[in-house]
């Protein structure tokens, strides 16, 4: 198992911009399935060869937050959620999209959403 290696900053920036500008809902689906079920907002903030990182905030609903699945407490606070690439550690930038799509597809299945053409 290799350690964490970072991609070049412009590669990361381009992917983050694409995810946050073109697929904001996808971010939310992914974080809801992989650790932050009560998330109301999600922004992808980083990625490397091991996984992606999302900034997640729950709603302001005071009744939420009892779910043991959230690691970072709910209640409008923003927390960071790291999710490993499902296919394992990757090496090339070309693999990033595949891994994000795989996360999205798995999240859709778990949340009872229709599969989507990518």
């Amino acid at each position: 198992m290799g350690g964490v290696t970072h991609f070049e900053a412009d590669v990361v920036a381009a992917i983050l911009a694409h995810m946050n500008n073109d697929h904001p809902e996808d971010n939310l689906v992914i974080v809801r399935a992989f650790g932050a079920p009560d998330a109301e907002r999600a922004t992808m903030v980083d990625l490397d060869t091991v996984g992606g990182t999302w900034a997640v905030s729950a709603g302001t609903d005071a009744g939420a937050g009892s779910d043991a699945g959230t690691d970072h407490g709910a209640g409008g606070e923003s927390a960071q959620l790291g999710i490993l690439w499902p296919g394992g550690t990757i090496e090339t930038r070309g693999e990033i999209r595949r891994e994000i799509v795989a996360l999205y597809d798995a999240a859709s299945e778990a949340l009872g959403l229709p599969p989507r053409q990518h």
Partner: protein, 217 residues
């Protein structure tokens, strides 16, 4: 050329519920995030058995239907793999040890009722299950293998040995959906039936969560 959007696209857009159903999703997401047990996974496979038994019996009845036949492929058939998975997970006596949850029983009744008489309804249920298995199911398999130390035994359900390129298979499937000559009213009926199928799947997760809670109590 008409500017009517392809049926597969309309289907996706109409069945898109935003962010997913949160109720009951905890069962699946816990399982995917390492917070579920091997027994939880067995419960899921068990319910798949009843659902695919119904869908694949329906496929057998529909194999000569002029519309439905195009969607039916032995490459998709899941029941033999599910049987082997359950034998591996539970033992040779697996069939005597499993029962359908209430939602599964209703889901199966719906499949039996709808697919017996209506090709569009059959396709709605077929699409909902198999395209999901070919999409998210593939990561779920990886996660289950990693978590429970499975190789191929136990996760045969997710292994489509005869479909080398799931993405191409799905693209062809969607093209076939777009090619069916349904009128607008029939398209609506099919979309409605897909939504019924998704509802069953969501309610199944709720049932699984409740059964788990009851067993722990």
């Amino acid at each position: 050329m008409s500017n009517v959007i392809p049926f597969s696209q309309a289907l996706r857009e109409r069945t898109w519920s935003g962010h997913g159903e949160s109720e009951g999703a905890g069962f699946m997401t816990d399982l995917m995030n390492g917070k579920g047990s091997r027994d939880d996974y067995i419960s899921l496979v068990t319910q798949h058995f009843f659902i695919y038994e119904a869908i694949e019996a329906a496929a057998d009845r529909m194999k000569n239907d002029p519309v439905a036949a195009a969607f039916i492929s032995p490459k998709l058939t899941r029941l033999p793999a599910i049987r082997e998975d359950l034998r591996f997970l539970i033992g040779d006596d697996w069939l005597n040890q499993i029962t359908p949850l209430p939602t599964t029983a209703r889901y199966v009744a719906r499949i039996n009722h709808v697919a017996a008489v209506w090709s569009g309804g059959f396709i709605a249920h077929h699409y909902t299950r198999y395209l999901g298995d070919l999409s998210g199911g593939q990561v779920i398999r990886t996660l289950m293998q990693r978590q429970f130390g499975f190789e191929t035994n136990g996760v045969g359900f997710y292994l489509f040995a005869d479909i080398a390129k799931p993405r191409e298979f799905k693209d062809t499937y969607r093209a076939q959906l777009d090619a069916v000559e349904w009128d607008a009213a029939e398209r609506e009926r099919v979309i409605d039936e897909v939504m019924v199928a998704y509802r069953f799947n969501t309610e199944l997760f709720v049932d699984l969560a409740e059964a788990k809670a009851a067993a722990a109590a």
